[in-house]
Amino acid sequence: MKKRVQSSGSIQALGIFLLSRWHRYRPVMSMWFLTVLSAFLTQAAECGQGDDSEMKRRPQGILTGMPFMAHVSSRSFVDDAGHRIYLAKPPARVVSLAPSITEMLFSLGLDDQIVGVTDFCDYPDAAKSKARVGYSNPSTEALIALRPELVLAPKDFLRPDLQTKLDQLKIPLFVLDAQTLEDILLQIQTLGKMFEKTSAANEVTQRMRQRIVEIRRKVETLPARRVLYVLNSRPLIAVGPGSFIHPMIGLAGGVNIAARAGVAYPKLSMETVLKEDPEVLIFPSETVPRSEQQQWLRWDSLSAVKLRRFHEVSSSLLNRPGPRIIEGLEQLARAIHPETFGSGEGAVHP
């Protein structure tokens, strides 16, 4: 048994090593057989992981969880990866590993407690003056040097080696993974409890909920429009189920024409687009320039082109599952139903 765990551990390490490199080298590698190899290793690693985490979690629970306390104490929290952490008091030093998390913390008024943010945390302005630790590949050294009492991380870019290191150093890591709007509200509440800012959290979530209800009420009576969200034109990349933007399109009163694609960010074929005939084209304003939007005029059989319904929304708002997501939702609703929400900004006239 012991031997088996060991060997799966080394396979896992190799797999993780290859995968972590692979993820970044992928665009320039032409030797695709590595894909197959790394896929095989992931599987091997995943098999191994099952054994390992089982082994690890038990002693961990004893060390940090105080299992009998867990159900009693209100100071123990379970994150979106299923790990339970126990915080005796509100952490005085916290590092955020995602812009959305940074925004949540600031919305709760935790300006002083935030000691580290990512390279892409640009809202609010105060975030820009905080120490930076990278983003998809955060520097472990920089992170540890900040002496955090809590690290808040998104699930997407979380590297297992970082997790292991923080475990070793007894720095609690809390993973946030929002799949829906409701998750965001819940996370803000959790953070509020963690930092003993419950009233601030209540205020923030209540305000958000109110605006959601308003939008929902308006959209309910409107016909759902066919929408294509263009993440990238060359090649054409859209958003599909599994991405955060996909359900938002539904909430804003639209139907995502890429709904049948099985991937979160599918490379969509132009044939599908022509067949599904979107009525509204939405471009993230930061990444798809106007000139690229103009290229769409070529497809003049599309309703969106005939009606000149091109709209820009801020992708940094829609991509960040934080408190400002509501503004993104409003922009989206305005783009899909300008006659109800008032066209205002975001309408582009190519």
Partner: protein
Amino acid sequence: MKPPPARVQSDSCAGALSGKACRAYPTGGLVAQGAILTNSRWIATLGILSLAAIVVSLLCLHFGTQPIPYSEILRVFVDAMSRKEIDGGASDITRTILLQVRLPRMLLGFLIGCSLATVGVALQALLRNPLADPYVLGVSSGAALGAAVGVLFGAGTTFLAETALPACGFAGGLLALVIVYRMAAHYEQLPIHSLLLAGVILNAIFSAVIMFITSVLEPNRSYGMMAWLMGTLTAPTYGGLVGLVVYLSIGLFLLFSQMRTLNVLALGEESARTLGIDTEQTKRFIFVLTALLTGAVVSVSGMIGFIGMVVPHAVRLVTGADHRLLLPASALVGGTFLMGADTIARTLISPAEIPVGIITALAGGPFFVYLLIWRKDRLA
């Protein structure tokens, strides 16, 4: 650029066309032995391959997100020829899909496959290395780097958007070419080994810079760039297609004019020199030509791997090593292969697409491994 070297008299390279020449070629046993090229064999082989290309292209037009029946295809083409307006509605969409998406994309795929395979043949003969392909000179990663830098500095936001990225890619490819050339041509001669080495090393450097750029780019933007780099065909406008056709066909024509010279070069430089070829100048000419072709292809479609390496080998197995047949046959097979691969790429998990580079590599990867194993056997 200097004019192409004088042609070799076909008499003087008669040996290059016989089985003896084939055995001299370093790929050895991969080559069909002893087949002497005759007019009828030339016509028959190319005829069969053209027929295959036509059949595959018909399949490509048929399959897609939804198959379009052949009767419908015929009707659309007839209507398009006679410029009759078709009634709107569903058939209008079919027409747009067929004429604006599938057809131009298919043609683009054929053209790019042709170029990659032809360049592969030329490089394998020139470098006398069975593993050489258009990517070996570092031109492809140079082009990719150019495009990456373009994205980094927001080339997409200029008024040239559509052409800015390919232009950056092309500039990067040219830069790589100049560097490799300078590195390798430090002395009077252009030694083949330095050329290969220079290309490989440059590849490594450029790849590192690309990785650096993807790691600092905002995730949203780097995602789009990666998707582009993985090799994709997007339906071009007919204007863009015509431009590409003109450019590539000039390049291909010049390369085809070197068929006989390639035959002699494949024998080895010594033999080529005794046969009266200015090897340095010939190498330089072919080298520059392949780099220009590769740069253009990469800048349009990203990195589509393995066609340049695999197709020439596969074709050589059937036709033998005579470049007068190998070159046009590889072009046809390469074009057909990419055309077919792209159809699979856009049909398999429809409505989403797979980068076509994955399909070509999945076909090419096993062949590459086979090559390695086979070579080991030969050496033992």
